[in-house]
Every structure is written in structure tokens, then in C-alpha cells.
Amino acid sequence: MSEPKIKLNTEWLSVCGGCHVALVDLHEKIVDVMKVIEIQRSPLLTDEKGYPPAQIGLITGSVRTDHDREVAKAMRASCDKIIAFGTCAVYGGIPGAALAHTAEDILDRVYLNNPSTDSSKGVVPNRLVPKMDAKITPLDEVIDVDLYLPGCPPHAAFIFDALMSLTKDRDPRAKEESICAKCNRLMKKTDVSQIKSVMDGMPDEDTCFLSQGYICLGSVTLNRCAAPCPQNGVVCTGCAGPMPQILTEPNRDIRTEVAARMSALTNIPPMDVVNEIEKSAKSYYAYAMASGMVRNKPTFLIEKWIEQVEKV
């Protein structure tokens, strides 16, 4: 007789939905998964609306509304092991970038003063929608989380390995490796002396973006994606969240680590890189700024940086 299947529930909170689509990205590998795992409830894949008891629970997204908080608790109560799945669930992710604004600012921009939609009725929806919190809360500040799988979304190979390691009770193979480790560009010494915007010129295809003066977050970002961006002509924006050394060491940060490497490769002074990243901090810190691990760093001064840019 075959072993009973491991039961899985999934749920989404405030998200884009991409992480659930990534589950389906397993393609034919999903057949192997289904041999050992039974997907009981999953917003994209099954009709089940309740929370039947399960061994594994995948939660994508962060907590922004009353509804998010309630369903997160229902998942915790029904599942033995909860996995924070995707950057939103691990660090707050893209919705976490809203930390840079108040809830009122956001509602005003979306419903009342939005340049691309008709907002002449002046109505902010308040019926049949859950109440929005004043700020984003990462999942593990609301419920206990057992395991973390960052990535926006995590690449199917990492999802498959994570699920299989859980069913076989072995350690996952994923390592603490940066995006640069999987990039195919060569880091060359150059005499570039100015930072370029991604709109400037046409970057060389074989040379590291840092060598060419473009800020790339590959060296400060954990690989859970197999580095598609720098291998296809686009800088890494850090969507899988920071490397562990940035999260554990108070004196290391996204801006200082990138500055040290970029200035060693080029003639760009390190403080130019630091200043440039602070000037666009809402983008460079977008994915992990809601997490206490970044938000509570004494050197993370997002309010000051925003004020400096907006008063100019």
C-alpha cells in the first residue's frame, strides 16, 4: 500500500498573486508533487473555502487588512508547519514598500487623486471590503512561522526542492548564495567615474553592470530565482530580499555593500553610490523595508531620505 499523501493548504494575503502562479509553474513536475502531496485548499487551484487540517501550510503575502489577519490565524490553526512563501510573506515585499506612505496617502492616491482614472465621484470604498490597517505587518509578526522561502516569486526549482525536502524529511539544497554567483557577466576594472541611470546608453552584454556604472543589487540579494535579470540585460532590483549577512550584521547594509564593490571596480567614489541609493531608497529597499530586520536597523533612515528628496 502506498504512503498516505501529505496534506497541503495554501492561502494568499495582500499580494500580487504571482507566488500562487509560481506553484503552477512547476509544469510537469507538479505530477511528481501530486504523487506525494494532496492540495486541499488553494485559492487558485481548488474550490475548498474552509481550512481542513493539513501538515503543511503555504502563505503568500503580508498582512494589511483585518481579513489578512483572520485568514493567517485560520491557516496557523489548521496546519502543522507554516511556510512564509515568497518575499511578501518573508519580508513584506512590494506591498511592504507602502511603509514609506501613510494609509491616507495611499487611499487618496488610488481613489481620489489618481491622474489616470476618473475619480470625480470622490468615493473611497468602505462597504464589503476589509478594513485597511495603518501599515503593513510581515507575516511572522502576526503568527508563528516555521519556515521561510523568499523570492518574488521563488523559482520553480526552489519550490520543488523545498516541497520535496519536506516530504522526505531532508534538508533543502538551496544555499546562501548571491545573484552574482549565478550571473554570467564578468566584473572588470573600468575607469567609469559616474553612476548611470538604467535609461542611459546600451549596457554591454558581457560585463557586470557595476563595472559599467549601473547600480545592480545582485551582490546583496539572495538567489532564489536563478538570476534571470542580469542574464537578460536588466539589473537585479533585489526582489528576493537581502543576503543574510546584511540582515544579521548591523554595520552592513544594501547601500554600503554595493558601494564597496562598485567603487573597487570603477572610479566612482563609494559615497556617490551611497547617496544615489538613499535618493531612491523607496525602490532600492522596497522589498524588505517592512521587515523589522531592515526597518529597525539604526542606519535605516527612510523618513530622512524621503524628506531630503521631496524638499528639493
Binding site: D140, L149, C183, L186, P250, R252
Partner: protein, 83 residues
């Protein structure tokens, strides 16, 4: 004795490790455009190369790890639970 290992396929050839090493353990192979271990026995396990390497290509084995009490304790515990 501390042992320095360089993962060749991960090395992006930036040479920063060669520049930061205080004891000239590392050298740069121009033909391959990769860092190599030249004077393995001189390594004092300061980990400067490991920290600065952009591509996590360098690792150390057999060294005494000093406990950093200033680390973010919460995250250090969480880091063990990453998939």
C-alpha cells in the same frame, strides 16, 4: 589550519578578494579571469575575502569562529529556517 575554498563557477573575476587579503593568500588567474588560492598556509581566517566577495564564491573550513554578540539575534535564529 584554516582552509580557503573558491567556487570557480561562482567567481565573477572582480579581484577584490585579492586586494583585501592582508596576507597575500589569493592571486588572480588572468587567463581564466578567476581568483585562485596561492599561499594557502598563510590564511589567518580573517574572513575579509569571504565578506566582500560579491558572488559568495569563497568559503572557509576548519577555522575557529568568533561569536559576534552584536548580531541581530532574531534573524540569526530565523536564518536557520530558510528553504
Amino acid at each position: 589550519m584554516a582552509e580557503v575554498l573558491i567556487k570557480k563557477e561562482a567567481c565573477r573575476g572582480c579581484q577584490i578578494c585579492v586586494e583585501v587579503c592582508p596576507t597575500e593568500v589569493l592571486a588572480f588567474d588572468e587567463a581564466e579571469q578567476k581568483a585562485v588560492v596561492k599561499n594557502a598556509t598563510d590564511c589567518i581566517a580573517c574572513l575579509s575575502c569571504t565578506y566582500i566577495c560579491p558572488s559568495t564564491a569563497i568559503s572557509q573550513q576548519d577555522f575557529h569562529s568568533v561569536k559576534n554578540f552584536y548580531r541581530d539575534l532574531d534573524f540569526s535564529v530565523k536564518a536557520k529556517r530558510y528553504l
